[in-house]
């Protein structure tokens, strides 16, 4: 693509990349377009190397003749607020008003490849690429302006969407004027220097959500809100239990229902109708027989199963010698911590609308992973990937649950192909609970020791099925070992009856619950204040500062537990961010109910791009955390999911709101770290520790339901057991 000027840097162009690039430029039209060409593998770390992240072009930015700037990002907006923070970054680096940015996200035809929106990585990893692209675009504009205004570059500066002479403000040209009639494609070499924190104009400032107006008026479109002429709504025949195999199916009665179209495509049996209720009615007339296997475990026996099926463990963090650690300990401790399966339960169920037109399958899809879904759809329907386009409108919550294989999108695409009409698949809540890739049930076993000085002398950590995230050691332990058995991804089929997957801060919620509960058990034995015990045992400066900040905000008063007051503290590291949280609870012994009265949380996430957005994420994490800590658990028996809707899967409600205090600990020395998950990880442990402080009872299984609380209270009241 040659314009008024040739590209200043010619990148190596693998054929697929250049094809996509030509298509992209044709789709978006003229203007100044910046492609990011630097090798992102350092930024993306292991992820890129294992999954083949293309290094050719990774950020798109277009400046149009009307001065508007379009940012193309393969990331998606699911509530976490990157539609705003990414726009802030682009506007700031480019020196344009925030209002002149348009965001195009999660569209495989327009946006640069992206593995998916998860792991609190958008700001950390896509952010720097976008900022560099915007900084580069600004450099191109200043160069163009220098020619246009016949003034040396050094005498010009970019301000508010225009390039202006530093000596004479009347000598100026707008970005729109510079872009007008141009077709400049600039491939970035990674040399542009983004702003330092001191130069931030929009970044670092609390900024209102750019999607708020669309969302409060009902105009924000989600996958299920797209309407196409002639579209049909599908209801799919589902098995009664996981592992069930269809023996026979009779769709003849359903086929007689007026307006209903029966599709039976290689095991995918569905009814299509002009509205979903008609499809539902006809589906009820389908007769199917199933072989239902008897699985070896249910929701109560799963933990023993996990302990047996974890296989050989993977060692990490080995330091010192465990036997030596044991010898140097005056007290030894053993603990076992449990957590059942958890559901993502986003308010929007998995939904997709597929349309086949002129050989291209377009799928509007509620997903966190549009590009991997594009490939999966293409494979499922036998199309070239280039002939499948995934468009991701607003996503109605994800939490990791929409980062799976795109089953709903594949179903919609197959049905649209079979029917020759656009087809929407919108899962019912029961389907959502059945096909969710649950947070795996998991077990942590800890053996630890304390020396005569009250320092941790031994830490022997074993985790089954949760993975090691959040379990990395930051306490100063001379004799340390972690062993990880099974993973929630690849080993799922071996360990679980159904799909398991990442659930917001995957694994870390249980790992932090286990470690921080266990820390408190040790602190109590040492008759130490839990905060002081943690500070005594870690020299990590960032951890100390968040612990002290959370305690200060809460008004922490020193006391060894159980003090009867009902306060607990816990801390952790997630996505590069340090977080500490203090909870205050009241425990009703008669009902077993835990009421979380107050929470103070402090977080060090490096440079903060949008303090308002970051605080909202902290608040959401904490409130959501009350659910995994207190109420949320998937029940199942015989491969059947007994949890089918919100009456049996209780997510946090208004009446559970504690008084909430959040602190962002300033750390501008560090680049922006993750924000979407960290504050979630200490919630369970802080509550369990507060319950112990209130009652002397130790809860070692989440969720801490009334029954489990009553059992734990009964255990401390037994004769011979200390209160």
């Amino acid at each position: 693509m040659s314009g008024a000027r040739p590209p200043l840097v010619t990148p190596p162009t693998p054929s697929e990349a250049s094809l996509s690039r030509r298509r992209f430029i044709r789709l978006v039209g003229g203007g100044i377009i910046v492609l990011f060409n630097a090798d992102l593998s350092d930024l993306m770390g292991q992820e890129t190397r294992t999954r083949g992240y293309p290094t050719d072009f990774n950020a798109y930015l277009r400046i149009a003749a009307d001065g508007r700037v379009t940012v193309y990002s393969g990331k998606i907006e699911m509530g976490q607020g990157v539609v705003t923070s990414l726009a802030q970054m682009a506007a700031d680096e480019l020196a344009v008003p925030l209002g002149s940015i348009d965001m195009v996200m999660g569209d495989t035809a327009l946006c640069p490849f992206d593995n998916g929106t998860y792991g609190s990585m958008s700001t950390r990893f896509f952010g720097p690429a976008l900022r560099a692209a915007a900084a580069e675009a600004k450099a191109v504009l200043v160069e163009l302006a220098s020619e246009r205004l016949k003034a040396p570059k050094e005498t010009l500066r970019a301000v508010d969407g225009a390039v202006v002479s530093a000596s004479d403000p009347k000598v100026r040209v707008t970005f729109g004027e510079l872009a007008n009639g141009q077709k400049i494609v600039r491939a970035l070499d990674g040399k542009a220097v983004p702003k330092s924190v001191a130069e931030f104009r929009l970044m670092g400032k609390p900024t209102k959500r750019l999607d708020a107006r669309a969302k409060v008026t009902g105009k924000a479109a989600y996958a299920g809100d797209v309407r196409l002429p002639g579209m049909l709504y599908a209801k799919v025949l589902r098995p009664p239990a996981h592992g069930a195999v269809m023996k026979s199916v009779d769709t003849s009665a359903a086929a007689r229902v007026t307006g209903a179209v029966v599709v039976n495509e290689g095991g995918l049996v569905a009814i299509l109708a002009p509205d979903p209720e008609a499809a539902e009615k006809a589906l009820a007339a389908v007769k199917a027989e199933w072989d239902v296997p008897k699985p070896a475990f249910d929701d109560r026996t799963v933990f023993d199963h996990l302990l047996k099926s974890g296989g050989a463990g993977q060692e990490s963090g080995r330091k010192g010698d465990l036997a030596e650690g044991e010898k140097s300990s005056v007290f030894l401790f053993e603990g076992k911590y449990l957590n059942g399966y958890g559901a993502h339960a986003a308010m929007e169920t998995h939904t997709a609308l597929a349309r086949l037109e002129n050989g291209t399958m377009t799928v509007w899809n509620s997903t966190q992973t549009p590009f991997p879904n594009q490939a999966a759809i293409a494979q499922a329907i036998g199309f070239e990937k280039e002939n499948v386009r995934v468009i991701t409108p607003f996503v109605g919550g994800g939490f990791g649950g929409k980062s799976g294989g795109g089953q709903q999108a594949i179903e919609a695409a197959k049905l649209a192909k079979a029917a020759g009409k656009p087809v929407q698949v919108c899962w019912s809540r029961a389907e959502e609970f059945f096909f969710d890739a649950f947070r795996p049930a998991a077990v942590v076993k800890i053996r630890s020791g304390l020396d005569a000085q009250g320092r941790i002398s031994l830490w022997d950590y074993q985790v089954y099925a949760a993975g090691s995230r959040g379990a990395e050691q930051f306490y100063d332990v001379p004799h340390n070992l972690m062993r990880t058995y099974g993973r929630w991804g690849g080993d799922s089929p071996k360990m679980h009856l159904f799909a398991t997957g990442p659930w917001r801060a995957p694994g870390a919620n249980l790992n932090v619950f286990a470690r921080e509960s266990h820390l408190d058990v040790m602190a109590a034995k040492a008759k130490a204040d839990p905060l002081e015990f943690r500070l005594r045992n870690t020299s990590d400066g960032r951890m100390r500062s968040v612990l002290e900040a959370a305690a200060a905000r809460f008004g922490w008063k020193k006391a060894a537990g159980p003090s009867g007051r009902g306060v607990g503290i816990a801390c952790g590291i997630d996505a590069g961010t340090y977080v500490a949280l203090v909870a205050e609870v009241k425990v009703d012994a008669a009902s077993g109910r835990i009421r979380v009265v107050r929470i103070a949380c402090a977080q060090d996430m490096g440079v903060v791009i949008n303090p308002d957005g970051a605080t909202m994420q902290m608040e959401g994490c904490i409130m959501m955390g009350l659910g995994y800590a207190l109420t949320e658990e998937v029940r199942f028996e015989g491969g059947r999911i007994l949890t089918k809707n919100f009456d049996t899967y209780e997510i946090p409600k208004f009446s559970m709101m504690p008084v909430l205090d959040t602190v962002l600990v300033k750390n501008d020395e560090l680049s922006p770290q993750g924000g979407g998950e960290p504050a979630l990880v200490p919630v369970g442990a802080a509550i369990a520790n507060a319950v112990f402080d209130a009652t002397g009872a130790r809860l070692a299984e989440m969720p801490m339901t009334p029954d489990r609380v009553k059992a734990a209270l009964a255990a401390v009241r037994r004769p011979g057991t200390p209160p």
């Binding site: 699911m78 509530g79 976490q80 607020g81 209102k208 959500r209 999607d211 708020a212 107006r213 669309a214 969302k215 409060v216 008026t217 009902g218 105009k219 924000a220 479109a221 989600y222 299920g224 809100d225 309407r227 709504y233 509205d275 979903p276 209720e277 008609a278 339960a345 986003a346 308010m347 929007e348 169920t349 607003f394 996503v395 109605g396 919550g397 994800g398 939490f399 919108c426 019912s428 809540r429 308002d612 909202m616 608040e619 959401g620 994490c621 904490i622 409130m623 959501m624 659910g627 809707n645 919100f646 009456d647 997510i651 946090p652 409600k653 208004f654 009446s655 559970m656 709101m657 909430l660």
Partner: protein
């Protein structure tokens, strides 16, 4: 069996030829093309489908459309007047009482009915009134603040 169903929707009369047993939710979302009202659970448990009928907040997912014959139905699309947001919408946007936004129309409609009946609710009254509307992003604190803000400004 289709039949004629007439009611007022966002201040305007509508007449539909529709199976009267179908839910108001899906009639809104398909026949009428008003997609602001959301499907969340299908069993009146989450509140994403909340609309206001007369002055009452009602879950539209289990309500047959025949039940609104002759009634006044307000959906999220009916709150904005002449391009001006309703104070509740303004307050939700201002305070950040939303994240993914999927529960937001139902939250706002439930709060709208709450303020119609009780223009100056206390915080416990707001919590009790909003209790059965679910928000998975857990924006509860700011939703309550938004309702308080709108009420303080005299929204109804």
């Amino acid at each position: 069996m289709k039949d004629s169903v007439s009611f007022r929707l966002n201040g305007r009369p509508v007449q539909l030829d529709v199976d009267p047993e179908r839910s108001l939710l899906w009639v809104l979302r398909t026949d009428l093309g008003l997609t602001g009202t959301k499907f969340g659970c299908g069993e009146s448990l989450c509140g994403a489908c909340t609309v206001v009928i007369g002055r009452e907040a009602v879950r539209s997912c289990l309500l047959p459309v025949k039940a609104v014959r002759g009634k006044d139905v307000t959906t999220i699309e009916g709150l904005e007047k002449n391009g001006k947001l309703h104070p509740l919408q303004e307050a939700f946007a201002e305070t950040g009482g939303l994240q993914c936004g999927f529960c937001t129309p139902g939250m706002i409609m439930n709060a709208y009915a709450l303020l119609l009946k009780n223009p100056k609710p206390s915080r416990p009254q707001i919590v009790a009134g909003m209790e059965d509307n679910l928000c998975r992003c857990a924006a509860h604190h700011r939703i309550v603040q938004a309702i308080e803000k709108a009420a303080a400004g005299g929204a109804s």
